[in-house]
């Protein structure tokens, strides 16, 4: 029996199989301030944190129809921070009661020559973008409010233009597999943001 295609096997990043629980929503630009205010009140008491990241998505086209996707992300405003390589599996089609999108997740911190390495391995860059926004945390939940910028000249992160007049809001938790109580906590938190932004489970396959 030939080896099963790479994309169908669950990719494990070590000993523990980590899953990412995700809820997404969006707000228009003019509502950003009120959303930030509300998040500052609800989330842990810290100084507000902003980020500016550059993400590149690499594909490895194998014999199968669906290519293998890896995401390489680097921080543009913090020098010395390692690059971050991420693999996100297919969303688990579980019961409808699960409130958040659950998918397998592998996170690796790498050095700066990641892109060369991936190129050597055979990956090709599919697209890239710049994300700029705010970062909050509440316990183990991470809330990101950011704007996606399209890079006009490939490789040059200075020439960017905003993709839309809105901000993307993501509520995510990385936890070991099997802890469904996490999704209940996420739902409760999302309820508190209700009138400002509606966070819900968005299946990426349906958007294609």
């Amino acid at each position: 029996m030939e080896a099963p295609p790479v994309t169908m096997m669950p990719v494990t990043g070590g000993t523990i199989n980590m899953m990412e629980y995700l809820l997404q929503g969006s707000v228009l630009d003019h509502s950003l301030e009120s959303l930030i205010h509300r998040l500052r009140g609800l989330c842990d008491n810290m100084e507000p944190e902003t980020f500016l990241d550059h993400e590149m998505v690499f594909l490895l086209k194998g014999q199968q129809a669906s290519p293998f996707v890896l995401r390489a992300r680097r921080s543009m405003d913090r020098a010395g921070a390692p690059w971050h390589l991420r693999y996100l599996g297919q969303p688990e089609m579980g019961d409808k009661n699960r409130h958040a999108l659950v998918r397998n997740c592998v996170d690796i911190a790498t050095s700066e020559n990641l892109t060369d390495f991936l190129m050597e391995m055979g990956f090709r860059m599919d697209h890239e973008f710049v994300a700029k926004g705010h970062l909050f945390r509440k316990g183990i939940m991470k809330i990101m409010v950011y704007k996606v910028f399209r890079i006009l000249v490939p490789g040059n992160t200075d020439s960017t233009e905003a993709l839309s007049l809105s901000y993307l809001v993501e509520l995510s938790v990385v936890a070991p597999a099997g802890q469904d109580v996490v999704s209940d906590d996420m739902k409760n938190f999302a309820e508190q943001l209700k009138p400002l932004v509606h966070l819900e489970k968005i299946d990426p396959k349906r958007l294609m």
Partner: protein, 652 residues
Amino acid sequence: MSGVRAVRISIESACEKQVHEVGLDGTETYLPPLSMSQNLARLAQRIDFSQGSGSEEEEAAGTEGDAQDWPGAGSSADQDDEEGVVKFQPSLWPWDSVRNNLRSALTEMCVLYDVLSIVRDKKFMTLDPVSQDALPPKQNPQTLQLISKKKSLAGAAQILLKGAERLTKSVTENQENKLQRDFNSELLRLRQHWKLRKVGDKILGDLSYRSAGSLFPHHGTFEVIKNTDLDLDKKIPEDYCPLDVQIPSDLEGSAYIKVSIQKQAPDIGDLGTVNLFKRPLPKSKPGSPHWQTKLEAAQNVLLCKEIFAQLSREAVQIKSQIPHIVVKNQIISQPFPNLQLSISLCHSSNDKKSQKSTTEKQCPEDHLYVLEHNLHLLIREFHKQTLSSIMMPHPASAPFGHKRMRLSGPQAFDKNEINSLQSSEGLLEKIIKQAKHIFLRSRAAATIDSLASRIEDPQIQAHWSNINDVYESSVKVLITSQGYEQICKSIQLQLNIGVEQIRVVHRDGRVITLSYQEQELQDFLLSQFVMDLKVAARLWFSFLVTNVKTFQKVMFYKITNGVIFVDHSKKFSGIKWKVETLFIKWSCLCLHLALVYYDFFQMFPKEVSRNFDLKCLQINYKYKEEITSKGVLFLKTIIRKCLFSTLKLFTL
């Protein structure tokens, strides 16, 4: 009309001519009738020019008199006044009066015209209206307006006053009847202190430290309920509050962490039964409502639980030389041999049953409040660390974690480097170190105090520094002799009391490390006492003995600085005072030394043998309990030895 003869009527004007004169023969001479012009003149004369001005001249000229009559009449009136001036002039022109009147009218008109033209220029004459009093008919509309305004203003003022009165009434009502606050205002007050959220139709709150960085899995939610068991007929009780909080059942009551150091219990089977004493609840602020105290107490219980959970987890996981024992709600460890540190979580619920059962055997002095406070501080430090910005991921998609830990992969840290990153000391280790230090410090203080109370000469002084570290304290010890403080400055010791050892820094630069044993410190300090004596003794060389008086059994030696009175003593009866034969100074010195040593070492009857390095005075002695003749021998040997050594010193 027929039949009637027309009668001829002849009409004649009765123009009978005026008779001018009747002649003697009866003939009448008639005046000729007036001609047309004469008639006109006569009529013109009848115009009264002054009638328009309202003069009251009679129309005397209205008579059909002659034109001559007029001037004649006028002149006849003034005839008396103007004699011969005006003569009757019948031949006056009949239009004369008219002409005169017209001329006066013209004059008047000219004058008026002149005046008006001058006034028009406004240079030399102006017209001013004459101020007149307000005419009565014009005053009526103004007063009417005033009165109507007053009335309307009064009406508006009335409405405003009514409203203000209502407001003041409600404010005073609020202040008087605080008990009748409603649920919403109380909820607002609650919201100012605690995080609340509405879930369905319930109001839940969060009293855990999770938003402050804690990772304890307790949910810490409390529920806010409306207090509706109010009987309106009865009197409202003093502490009535329309709002009530329901805290989780395991957080009820009050709790604290008890840290105590005891001598090791000989029987280890007694564990698990911690003697609690019901510590009185911390006084809440006088104005705070009852839900505030309830919630604060529950939060404190939660924090104590977290501290104890963290400590017990570390006690089980971390390997140490002497394993820690965790039993029920107590953690026991051994910082020093023969010493036991016990940390226990004392959680007392508010039931009346348990209040009766707590017998206060354990004395509260055993409890180290400082360490309990430090435990609270340490756990809060730990909380703050999870919230610090070094834990936030950059790039944003990375997981939470310490910044340097994420670098350990790309930069290939080895195990040692990773271990150095993680804080190696947990809560338990830190507390044990602090407890060790506190114990060592208190014991050092006790040693110094006991020495000070037992030994009168020389004296020991200890100056403790106020500002210390959790792991280190320092004290400066001075050993002086009375009367020689200025000179005996050489014995100054700086003791740095650490966690497990005491480091002594001598004035001359020597550094000695003592272990935690109590005896070592005592011995060392005693040796320092002797050093001081040596220094004091050396000074004797410089003192001159002025005279020596010897009485029968009492002797005293007078020296420059004072008198040393040597009392009669049985002990020294056996010694022969060979004062005259020996060098006086030396023997005095030796004697004094001997006396002091004797007194000094008398305090330590149990010491068997001591070796003191005194550099110039080497004394090996054996001190025994019987102090009769053997004491004399001892003194003899001492004196001999002193003599030899002082000789040496003197020559040097």
